[in-house]
């Protein structure tokens, strides 16, 4: 059922919400999921929804966004609300395995029989029962020791999400696309918990596409745990394309074993308030990680990328690049925490954050945060904030290109470096055209999704 709750004082009501509905939250959920709830709930209640007094959330005070009168679905029926089979993917050049999740709950998977043998894709609460040994080994094991309040909140409340398992040695050629759809007739609070396990020598590419298709306010706390085991290759592209009334706290927690190579790319093309918590733990030797992000914001949008690369073992490499273009009164923040632990010798860690501010009112806070406890390492970081280059603009004008076209060319040129890092060729093409449309102001953020091609309800753009 959908439960409507009015949140004014945060912890008080969240505590009540949890305690009163505990049996419904736990109903039908895997044992391990329920076993972790109590402790997570304690952590969450103790810390609360972070305000900007919490150092890690200094530039994003989440408290006001988590207040209001919000619906919460405690069952699949309530979450789907009769909207399960409306969605189809129709972009031919993007050949993907499509999974649809509605308001945080698994809705359906297209063409399940086409998955390579042994690959499991489905609802986390259902698959956990079918594959208990995998689930119990990995679920909740990679949240780190920093006890993030939002991760704890997710562990306490989440009931469903996607489960993806790729067995040893299997290469999944087509990307798996998780389409996360937010819809409903009332403002809504959504939890979602995904678990992705890529076994030794396996390869997987995942796209997470976040959409809102009805004009209500959505408050989202989702979290994806990824385990990239020995010599595996894993890519995740999170395309965030939501309307301005959306608040999303998105956690991506990747755990790496020996010789694994991972890539995360958070493409925040449109959203109200976005906080991405990206945590990569390099828990073995010779890991390689690529952590990228592109954020394009205007009006009063706000994007906060908080990355934490944990170099726990020697001989690992990390490459981090985040770029943002802020227009109007948009604001953004970047934190790049890199921890090189005492025995992580021969670490290479590179970090870069570049920002383009198009107006006087746009704002960026960029904070590299390197903690290095080993002595034989190479670490670099750089942050830049700039405006469009006048000389380049004049050069374009002198060739007959007007100011507006010139701006689009130069903004695109700025964003291009992050787009080039995409390792799925057709997706790269799609993102290129999406980004260009975004800069041209032709981006239709509510009615349809250019990536997965599905048609949404015809609602006015917010």
């Amino acid at each position: 059922m959908n439960k409507t709750c009015r949140i004014v004082n945060l912890q008080e009501e969240y505590s009540q919400l949890y305690q009163e509905h505990r049996s419904m939250i736990e109903d039908g959920a895997p044992e391990k999921m329920n076993a972790l709830r109590a402790k997570a709930f304690e952590t969450f209640i103790e810390k609360g929804i972070p305000s900007n007094k919490v150092e890690a959330y200094k530039y994003t005070n989440l408290q006001p966004y988590f207040k209001g009168t919000l619906d919460i679905a405690f069952s699949k029926e309530a979450a789907l609300n009769g909207s399960s089979n409306k969605f189809h993917c129709s972009v031919p050049e993007l050949d993907t395995h499509n999974v649809f999740l509605i308001n945080g709950w698994f809705a359906h998977l297209e063409d399940a029989h086409q998955l390579p043998e042994g690959v499991v894709v489905g609802s986390i609460r259902e698959k956990a029962l079918e594959y208990p040994e995998v689930f119990e080994k990995y679920y909740g094991q990679n949240l780190g020791d920093d006890n993030d309040a939002m991760a704890a909140m997710n562990t306490a409340f989440a009931q469903d999400g996607a489960f993806v398992y790729v067995p040893k040695g299997v290469v999944v050629d087509k990307p798996i696309q998780l389409v996360n759809i937010m819809t409903g007739e009332n403002d809504r609070l959504v939890f979602q918990r995904n678990l992705i396990v890529v076994e030794d020598n396996a390869q997987l590419k995942v796209m997470l596409c976040d959409h809102t298709i009805s004009p209500q306010k959505f408050v989202i706390n989702n979290l994806t745990e990824v385990f990239a085991n020995e010599n595996s290759v894993f890519d995740v592209y999170n395309i965030q394309n939501q309307h301005n009334l959306t608040t999303q706290v998105s956690g991506m927690y990747v755990h790496q074993k020996k010789y694994s190579n991972i890539l995360t790319n958070n493409l925040t093309l449109h959203s109200g308030v976005t906080r991405n918590n990206i945590r990569v733990t390099m828990d073995d030797e010779n890991c390689e990680s690529h952590v990228y992000g592109l954020y394009l914001s205007d009006k009063n949008q706000h994007v906060d990328n908080y990355s934490f690369i944990d170099h726990a073992k020697p001989h690992c490499q990390s490459f981090e690049l985040f770029k943002g273009v802020m227009d109007d009164s948009a604001s953004a923040a970047f934190t790049g925490r890199v921890l090189v632990r005492p025995d992580a010798q021969q670490t290479n860690a590179y970090q870069s954050n570049n920002n383009l501010l198009l107006t006087q009112n746009a704002k960026i806070n960029s904070k590299p945060q390197l903690e290095i406890y080993a002595d034989d390492v190479k670490c670099s970081h750089g942050a830049t904030v700039g405006q469009l280059d006048d000389d380049a603009m004049f050069y374009l004008k002198a060739r007959g290109i007007n100011e507006n076209e010139g701006r689009i060319l130069l903004m695109f040129a700025f964003a291009y470096e992050v787009i080039e890092k995409i390792r799925v060729e057709p997706l790269k093409e799609n993102i290129r055209s999406l980004v260009e449309k975004r800069f041209r102001g032709e981006f239709d953020k509510c009615d349809s999704c250019v990536v997965c091609g599905h048609q949404g309800a015809s609602v006015s753009c917010l």
């Binding site: 280059d389 050069y395 374009l396 060739r399």
Partner: protein, 250 residues
């Protein structure tokens, strides 16, 4: 085609052009020479519409239109082309995208249909051949990592693509080896026509062996102090600028 009358321009309150008068007719090639700091590049920037410079007096008419009244992009669309002394590197903007945007903006201005992708690529191939530009330069970002010579050749290639009525070559020869110089000059000569005019701004007579001017002007302290035929360039090469300065000071 181009009539400049008593043109004054300044940057940061420093007057650099102090009354330029010049008339260029269709098909003519004019060379503008002069010592460093005489205002040669300022003149080309002002004509192209660089907002760093402020025009405080005078007028410029280009094919009957008030040039100074036009935005830089409209000057280009009206057929004015500046080959930059220092072409700007624009990482992330591909040459193809850049040129297609520019060419189609010109066509739109003339109320013509934009080129399709295949028409455009065909045009590009033709022009690349004409100016002997290396094929892979056009597959890269605009001027990014180009050598000095490649940048200048790229300017001539852009000129060929845009087919201007008046081309201003601002020290296109500086820093070029003899082969690149020949390529640049050949490109310019191949594009020559009775309707098209060229202003060649240069320090040295060398380029003028290849692009033969109808008139040579000497710019000094923001004014044209001497105008003559092509023989003036040779005289300058031989005697330097001191005699002009002396004549002018007297």
């Amino acid at each position: 085609m181009l009539v400049i009358k008593d043109l004054h321009a300044k940057i940061d309150d420093k007057e650099i052009l102090r009354g330029i008068n010049l008339e260029i007719k269709p098909g003519e090639v004019h060379a503008i020479m002069g010592p460093n700091g005489s205002g040669k590049s300022t003149l080309s920037s002002v004509l192209a519409g660089n907002e760093k410079f402020e025009v405080n007096e005078g007028s410029v008419s280009f094919n009957g239109k008030d040039l100074l009244d036009l935005a830089p992009e409209d000057r280009a669309r009206e057929g004015l082309f500046l080959s930059f002394q220092y072409p700007v590197e624009i990482p992330g903007v591909s040459m193809v995208n850049f040129m297609r945007t520019a060419v189609n903006e010109h066509r739109k201005y003339r109320e013509e249909e934009p080129y399709s992708a295949s028409e455009f690529l065909k045009l590009m191939r033709e022009k690349k051949k004409l100016v002997e530009i290396d094929s892979n330069l056009t597959n890269r970002s605009v001027n990014e990592g180009f050598s000095g010579g490649e940048k200048k050749k790229n300017e001539i290639f852009q000129m060929a693509m845009l087919e201007p009525k008046l081309a201003i070559l601002d020290e296109t020869d500086s820093g070029l080896d003899i082969d690149a110089l020949r390529v640049v000059a050949n490109g310019v000569n191949k594009l020559k026509s009775p309707e098209r005019s060229t202003i060649v701004i240069t320090h040295y007579q060398r380029l003028l062996d290849h692009i033969v001017p109808d008139y040579v002007h000497v710019l000094y302290k923001g004014r044209i102090v001497k105008s003559a035929g092509k023989e003036l360039a040779l005289e300058l090469e031989e005697k330097g600028y001191d005699w002009i300065k002396k004549e002018f000071e007297d």
